[in-house]
C-alpha cells in the first residue's frame, strides 16, 4: 500500500525525529490520495488577515481522521508443508504459502519455489488467512469494563447517525492482544452498540497495537453504519417514555429519519449535518449497513424498508432466525453475521439454533460467524467448527474450507475489504495465521500471526506478544493469557 522501505521507520536510530515525522506525513499523504485530493480545506482566498477568513471544515470526501497505519517490517517468508485453507473455500494439503513485502505472493502446492524466502517448516500445522471479526466492540467497551470505559453507544437519542465508533476506541484495550494471540484476529469491525435504531458509524481496524486509533484504521476500508431493530431500541426509549416503544415505532422513526436524509441528499448546498452526511453515504452505497436484527419476520420488513428508501443492507448481525428465511436473504444478497450457539438470553433470541449457519449455507445465503464478545473473538475458529458440525449432524456437509471462509473471506466481503484481505490470493495483504493444529479443533491455537507480512505474534517467543500500556506493571504482565 505504501511504498516505503519496509523498515524505514526503524532504521533511523534514536532521536532522528525529523525523519520520523517525514515518514508519518508521507504515509498520511499517500492514504489521503486514495480518498480525495488531500488538500487543506481552509479557504484559499485568505491572504492573512482575519477579516477575510472563511472557515471550512474538511469535507467527508477529504477523509478526516485518516489512517496512519503502515505495515511493520517483515522478512520474505515461506510456510512450507502445512494444510492450507485459503479463505476462499479451498484446501491445499502439503501447501506452500509465500509472503514478501507485506503481500501474499502465492499459496499453492509443494511445487512452489521457496528460493529467496526464509522457510518455516509448517508440516503438521495449518495456515489460514488472518481471522476477521465483523462484530466487535473492543476499544469501545474495553476491559477493565468500568463505567468510565463505557463508550460504545451514544444511546441518548433513538437515532445517533452522527457518532463515529472510532472516536471511542481506546487503543490500549488489552482485548485486542487476546484476539490476536488466542484467536488469530488480524482485522475487525468496531460497531456502536444496539440500544438505538441508528447507532452511528463503525470503523474497521487492523489488529495492530498502536498509540492512536488512526494507527489501527484499516487503510481504504469503507465505513459501516450500525442499525438495530427489535427489542433493544423499543425497550430503551419506551422505558424513557418516548418513541419508539414498539416495533412499529421502530419502523416509523427509521423511515422518517430516512425521508429527512433523502431531502438532505437532494439539496444542493445543505447546511452541514454530521448525521445526515452518514445517512447520505449509506444512500450512495459508500457506507455499508450492518443491521442488528434477530427475528426473521423483522429482517424481512427491514429489507423492504431498505427497498422503499433505496439503500442496501449488507449484513444482518446476530440474526438468530436467519435460517427461517434463507431464501429471502439469498435473493436480497444479504449476509447473516451470527453466533454458533447463543440463544435464549432475550425473547428475540429464543429460536436460536446451532444449525443456523449450515441451513443458510444450504440455502445459498451468505454466512459470517461473528463474536460480539471480547471472549468469543478469541475463539471464532471454534465457533465456526461448532456450526459446521451441527450442519453435518443434520446431513448438511460443509467443507472445512467453507467453515474457515465464514470467518475470513465472507467477513471481508461484508466489510468491503475483500479485495485487500480475507483470502490467500496473490497480491492481498499478508494477513496470515499459522496454527499449531487444525483450527477447527478445540485443541489448536495460533502459533504465529502476521499482519501485512509483519510477525506480530509468536507463541514460541514470549516477547513477540503485545502488552498494552494498561498491563504494564500489573499482575500477569506479558503472561500467556
Amino acid at each position: 500500500m505504501i511504498n516505503l522501505p519496509p523498515d524505514a521507520g526503524h532504521q533511523q536510530g534514536n532521536g532522528n525525529v525529523r525523519n520520523k515525522v517525514w515518514i508519518v506525513a508521507a504515509s498520511a499523504l499517500a492514504l489521503g490520495a486514495c480518498a480525495a485530493t488531500g488538500t487543506a480545506s481552509a479557504a484559499k482566498d485568505d491572504r492573512g488577515k482575519s477579516k477575510a477568513t472563511r472557515f471550512a471544515a474538511k469535507t467527508e470526501a477529504e477523509g478526516p481522521f485518516p489512517s496512519t497505519y503502515r505495515p511493520y517490517p517483515g522478512v520474505p517468508t515461506a510456510l512450507v508443508g502445512a494444510t492450507v485453507f485459503d479463505g476462499a473455500g479451498n484446501r491445499i494439503d502439503n501447501g506452500v504459502v509465500l509472503l514478501r513485502e507485506g503481500k501474499i505472493v502465492a499459496a499453492g502446492d509443494s511445487e512452489l519455489s521457496t528460493d529467496g524466502y526464509t522457510v518455516i517448516d509448517a508440516s503438521g500445522k495449518f495456515v489460514t488467512p488472518g481471522i476477521i471479526d465483523i462484530h466487535s466492540h473492543l476499544g469501545d467497551y474495553p476491559t477493565p469494563s468500568v463505567q468510565a470505559h463505557s463508550d460504545g453507544n451514544e444511546a441518548t437519542a433513538p437515532t445517533t447517525p452522527d457518532v463515529w465508533a472510532e472516536h471511542s476506541v481506546w487503543p490500549q484495550d488489552p482485548g485486542f492482544s487476546r484476539a490476536m494471540a488466542n484467536g488469530g484476529i488480524t482485522s475487525l469491525q468496531i460497531l456502536p452498540g444496539s440500544a438505538n435504531l441508528m447507532g452511528g458509524r463503525s470503523v474497521t481496524l487492523k489488529n495492530v497495537p498502536a498509540r492512536t486509533v488512526q494507527g489501527m484504521k484499516f487503510p481504504g476500508a469503507p465505513y459501516g453504519f450500525k442499525m438495530a431493530c427489535g427489542e433493544n431500541p423499543k425497550r430503551v426509549y419506551g422505558g424513557r417514555g418516548r418513541k419508539p416503544s414498539t416495533r412499529m415505532g421502530n419502523f416509523a422513526v427509521n423511515r422518517q429519519t430516512w425521508y429527512d436524509a433523502i431531502n438532505y441528499a437532494n439539496e444542493k448546498n445543505p447546511k452541514r449535518d454530521l448525521g445526515k452526511e452518514t445517512l447520505k453515504g449509506v444512500l450512495e452505497g459508500e457506507i455499508l449497513v450492518h443491521n442488528h436484527c434477530y427475528r426473521a419476520d423483522e429482517m424481512a420488513l427491514v429489507m423492504d424498508m431498505a427497498k422503499e428508501i433505496g439503500y442496501k443492507v449488507t449484513a444482518f448481525h446476530h440474526a438468530v432466525e436467519s435460517y427461517k428465511i434463507g431464501d429471502l436473504l439469498r435473493e436480497n444478497g444479504v449476509c447473516s453475521a451470527i453466533w454458533a450457539d447463543w440463544y435464549g438470553f432475550k425473547m428475540e433470541a429464543y429460536d436460536g439454533i446451532m444449525e443456523n449457519a449450515a441451513l443458510l449455507q444450504q440455502a445459498g445465503a451468505c454466512v459470517v460467524i461473528h463474536s460480539d464478545s471480547a471472549n468469543d473473538i478469541q475463539r471464532l475458529n471454534q465457533e465456526a467448527s461448532k456450526a459446521q458440525a451441527a450442519g453435518a449432524r443434520m446431513g448438511i456437509e460443509i467443507s472445512d474450507g467453507t467453515a474457515i471462509q465464514w470467518i475470513t473471506l465472507n467477513a471481508a466481503k461484508a466489510m468491503g475489504i475483500d479485495d485487500m484481505t480475507g483470502s490467500l490470493e496473490a497480491g492481498k495483504m499478508a494477513d496470515i495465521v499459522l496454527w499449531n493444529g487444525d483450527p477447527l479443533s478445540v485443541y489448536s491455537r495460533p502459533e504465529k500471526v502476521w499482519i501485512d507480512g509483519a510477525l506480530m505474534y509468536d507463541a514460541m517467543d514470549r516477547k513477540r506478544r503485545p502488552v498494552s500500556d494498561f498491563e504494564l506493571g500489573q499482575p500477569g504482565e506479558g503472561d500467556v493469557k
Partner: protein, 436 residues
Amino acid sequence: MKCLLTLAASALALSTTSAMAQDIVITNATVVTGDGSEPVKGGTIVVRSGQIVAAGADVTAPADIRTVDAGGAWVTPGIFASVTTLGIWDVGAVSESNDSRAGGSPFSAALDVELAVNPNNQHVMIHRAAGITRAATATMPSGSIFAGQGAIIDLDADGNPITKARAFQMVDLGQGGAARAGGSRASTYTLFRAALREAQALAGKTGTPQTTEITKDDEVMLSRFDAEALKPVVAGNQKLYVSVERAQDIRAAIALGKEFPKLDMVLVGASEGWMVASEIAAAGLPVLADPLDALPYGFDQLGSTQSNIGRMKAAGVQVGINAAGMENPRRLAQQAGNLVGLAKLPGATGLSWGEAFASISSIPAEIAGMGGKAGVLKSGAVGDVVIWDGDPLEVTSVPTKVYIGGVEQPLGNHQTRLRERYRDLDESTLPKAYDW
C-alpha cells in the same frame, strides 16, 4: 378447560415414560471414568437399578441385561455443571420468566431454590442433550451479599429435579459483594461477620422461626429467616460457595475461614487464584474457576489468565470448572478442551485430557458433596452415562445417548423441533405452521 386437560395428560405421559430405571450394559466403549484418568478403549459399563455397578476394560458384560454396543464410541459420566441457573429462567431478559435473581425480595440467605426449579424448562432439555446430567443451581446474589441456598439438580425428564436441596449457600465477597454491602469491601466483611454471629447466636434454637417470634432484637443485620438459614453454614453442615476473584479477596476469604473455622468453603471464580495458589492449597479450599478468562474485566481480575486452573492444580488445589462464567453451561466441554490445547503453549499451564474431563465431572461433583456418587463411572455412583459421537471435549461432538439415573433420556427440545421444521423452506402445499 380443554387446554388444562391436555396439559395434565401430557404431564402424566412424561412421568410414566421416564419412571423406570433400566438395567443396561454398554460394551465396546472408549471409557472415560471421570476421575482424572485417561480414556480406556474396549471397555464395558454396567448399570443396574439406576446405579453404576462396574466400568472399565476388565469388566465382563452380564448376559442377563440389555446390551448397547457403543461401537468404540466415547462413553463418559454425565457432565456435572457448577454453578448454574439451569431450571430457573426461560428467557434471560424476560424478567417474569426469570427466577435467577430476587433483588426485590426481603430475604437473602433464606432464599431457597428448591421449589423454583422447573424441570420442563427448555434450558434443562437443551443442556441434557449436551450431556449435562447434574447441576448445582442457585439464585445469584442480588439484594445482598448472600445469594441464597442452591440445590443439586438432575436434568432428567421426570418431574422431580432435586437431587439435594439446600446443598450450599452462596456469598459474594468480591467486587460485586462490596457494591451490595454498601460500596466497600470493608462493609462486606463486617456484614459477613455480623451475619455469621447472628447465626451462631441462634444455635440451639430449633425449628422454623415463626413470624410472631421475629422481634426487633433479632434483626440487627438480617431477618430472622436469613439468620436461621445461615445456621448450617456457620456450623459447617452446609457448604459456603464464596465468589471472589482478586488474589487479596481470596486471602480475605481464607482469613474469614479461620475466624469461623467450621465453614466448609468453596471459592468460585478465583481469577487470580494462581497468584495465591499455595495459600489456597494450604487452606484446603477447593475452587470452581473460570477457565478461559484472559482479560482484566475489572480491577479484581488484572491477573486473569487461562493458565489459572492449570497452575492452581499444579500447586495442589482441587479445581473444577465454573459453569457460571460462560455463555451457557453447554460450553463446559469446550472450555475443558481448551485447557488441553493450552498445555501445548510454552509458558502456559493446561490440563491433561483426563484432568480436563474430571474438571467438569468428578471434581465439581466432589466439591458439591457428591464425591463418588456423581461425575464418575464407578461402582455406587448414579447411573448418569453419556455416549458421544466423538471426543467429548471437541466442539464438534454431541451425545447420542444420555442416561440419567439409569434411564435413557429424550434428547428433543424446542431447538431440535425448529431444526426439523426448517430443514427446508418448502411451503408449496401448506405453511410451515402445519409442519410438526
